[in-house]
Symmetry: C3
Subunit: 347 residues, 3 copies
């Protein structure tokens, strides 16, 4: 693909410093870009050595002009670069569909199927009864969509995903392969020696612009809904239990586990392998460190680390001492000896 | 659905205090129930405010009568409520089957298939050779059942589950979506620079009344069997390695990992993200805390927390000190200074 | 199956001490073997009691002859035993194929499919466009192979695996059920309130002799490749993020999470549930303990444990003190009291 640099400038709403008619054929990182590529630099580290990249043009922050090569000045170079990447590497459109309606012949489509325009349903996908899909929905192979599921526009469901009955998926949602949406919440009533299963009557609702990683498990609510709010991104192998709410634009890194009835605010970040105990609340803009075990609610804006959790700054100090515990213990023994000496000496 | 309160009383084997002819249309939690619903209260917290719920009737413990509204008195209100929920929200019965025998036309059924009555095999399920299914088995779409697998009665296998050759599944077992039963145990013999695969010749046996969560992995034994005993419940993303035995009615919470050849007793509870080292034994009624890392065997009835594990009560005390390590270190420095002073002063 | 002991000796390149014409019908562990079985003993513990096994023959280390029963002396008894197991328990060859070309009639095969000889493609597998398979490849049911994927010889892909577009799989690779290869890396550019998706343009490359466990997730690179080098073995539920390199013959135990752009050397061992922070390097022959959280690069040959990580020997000493923190704190209080006394007493 060949694109004029000036056209790229338009797409990212940037300002050019020359090179309007230069032809760009790809986008690549600073150190991998060649003469035909555009790259980006948004930190002092890279801006300082901007003339060292082989790229034919560089996306830079507003008002940055100290460059011998053409630059595209934008508000947010990283986002602009992602937009350019999306031009050169558009999402693959499945070509295995062999029906004009976009539905492969070897699918199973249940009763009362309603769908928008320009959908793609791949081989061996199962659409159960009373399912609604919006426009431009792509259902990859071996996906199972349960009874009464509603899916919005521009949604992409990767292979081997399971979406169980009555769950609701918003617009522009991406669900990566192997993920399960709407499995039963883990609810049992102790009944003497054994456990009696508590029916899980609720659903999972995933709002607009959410991206769910591969092999996640998101359980349906016992009553009501487990809710993943607008803009949330989850990494791979994340577990979200019944009746959890994850607030808008929160980020859940790989292998995090969130117990039942937890409420998470907006713009939270949960680092990898963290675990959140049941029935607590994490406020807006909370950050939870990797492998943290959070047992109590966390106020807005707090940064917590460790297992059990503590304020991150305290945790940093604690950790430094943990390494030195053997030394500290030795000091204590010496002090005791000195004290014994003194006590022996003094009257 | 409309049910007489007296009928509900019969189902849960409870005693009514009036309202025999009241009509109940649903079941809901204490705070969400409306006039037409039945709810339950089993703790002082809820029993105290029993007249505050809008529910038309309340399931309560035996001998509790202090209520202005009809109550159903039972041994175990939580279990009774779960039973009522199961009436109002019966498990969905798949309707996508289009063959009188209950086998969808677009399945693959191998040789020597034996099955009981009233089974359902959904589209794109694969039943390999010499498979036996009991009565009332539901195989959801895209499930793969390997050669020589035997499955009991009233079993439900959710979509995209894989059950590999020779594994055995008991009666009334539920396996949630995406789970893998019978993958090879992780066994390799170091052979100079590389590893030589040790064939995993055993199976997985899952006994009656077990429920396995979504995206679990349960490995087959090297020899003999990996065994999940009667009544065990596992949450999502649980890993159970080769040759493990999980005893009756034990509960394994999400993201727990159990290493090879571990034996777990009856009624154990392993909280979320705990890890159990290989070749150890956890006794009956053991409780393991969240994120605990258990490296040594645990006696019957013990409660262990932390990584590495310690008795829970010790762990509680340890944790309280962990937070205060910086303070403790400071105290120690001060003591040293005071000691220096004293040593300078004393003869 | 009946095999002459002398034939087994040939297969494992071992030296017999008699019993050349004995017939062996199976292979089993030391304590489970019967008269018809062969077993192995490679440690003092078992060699000492070699006459206690019921096995008809025993594989032993070179030059070990103190046995009343026939022995097969080899360099590496464990590897030799695994080889014998592979004779008695050859990997199951799927029989559900109904086409002479080895491709089940109910599969989806895209355009420009190229394959070697003796392949097996099971029902409801999807091979998208421009896929290349080598000789003796077995694709189990419900596997999805994306556009332009290249797979080598003697590869086995278990059910419900997803391999997304352009990924490359070497020779003699095994991928267990439910695993996802080539999901998008977790890359987003913060854009005011929300996140903008960074297209993940790279691939996953899996080299020869790799075995990947069940329900793993291995993300494609943002640019270039995520690479799993020759001989690597991963257990179940492992997460490997974008742009990671795992060096030759490294072993990744269950539920390990490896963050983006991590480089791991050869012969590393990462124990269960360990987490590795992004952009760091673990050297050759590194060992990481279970549940360790590794935040900084680790030099060749180091053994690290704990979260955050520390040298394993230090960690052992630290752990011993952790248990005794309450005691240590009490000691400190007593010392303070004694000091107060002394200070009161001394002038």
């Amino acid at each position: 693909m060949e694109i004029l640099l000036s056209r790229i400038g338009e797409v990212v709403e940037g300002k050019l410093s020359g090179g309007y008619d230069n032809i760009i054929c790809g986008a690549a990182p600073f150190d991998m870009a060649t003469q035909d590529d555009i790259t980006f630099a948004d930190t002092a580290k890279f801006l300082k050595k901007i003339d060292k990249t082989d790229a034919g043009a560089v996306i830079v922050p507003k008002n940055f002009t100290r460059s011998s090569k053409p630059v595209v000045m934008v508000e947010n170079p990283r986002v602009a670069f992602a937009k350019v990447l999306a031009i050169f590497y558009p999402p693959a459109k499945p070509e295995y569909l062999n029906s004009p309606a976009g539905i492969s012949s070897n699918t199973y489509i249940g009763k009362n199927f309603l769908c928008g325009k320009d959908i793609s349903i791949a081989p061996f996908a199962v659409i159960q009864n009373n399912v609604t899909l919006g426009d431009h929905v792509i259902i990859h192979p071996n996906v199972v969509v349960g009874d009464n599921v509603v899916i919005g526009n521009d949604v992409k469901i990767y292979p081997n995903v399971t979406i169980l009955e009555r769950c609701r998926i918003g617009n522009r949602v991406i669900i990566h392969a192997g993920t399960v949406i709407g499995s039963d919440g883990f609810g049992f009533a102790p009944d003497g020696e054994s456990y009696f299963k508590i029916p899980q009557t609720g659903i999972v609702q995933i709002d607009d612009d959410v991206e769910i990683g591969a092999n996640n498990t998101i359980d349906r609510a016992t009553f009501g809904k487990t809710r993943i709010c607008r803009g949330v991104k989850t990494d791979n192998l994340v577990h979200i239990a019944h009746n959890v709410t994850v607030g808008e634009n929160s980020v859940i890194v790989a292998q995090v586990g969130i117990s039942g009835s937890v409420t998470i605010g907006k713009h939270a970040i949960l680092a990898g392998q963290a675990g959140i105990a049941g029935h607590i609340t994490l406020g807006d803009n909370v950050t939870i460190g990797p492998q943290a075990g959070v047992a109590a609610s966390v106020q807005n804006g707090q940064v917590m680390s460790g297992s059990p959790e503590m304020p991150h700054r305290l945790w940093l100090r604690v950790q430094r001492i943990i390494y030195k515990l053997p030394e500290l213990k030795k000091n204590l023994s010496e002090i005791e000896k000195r004290l014994n000496m003194i006590e022996g000496r003094t009257p």
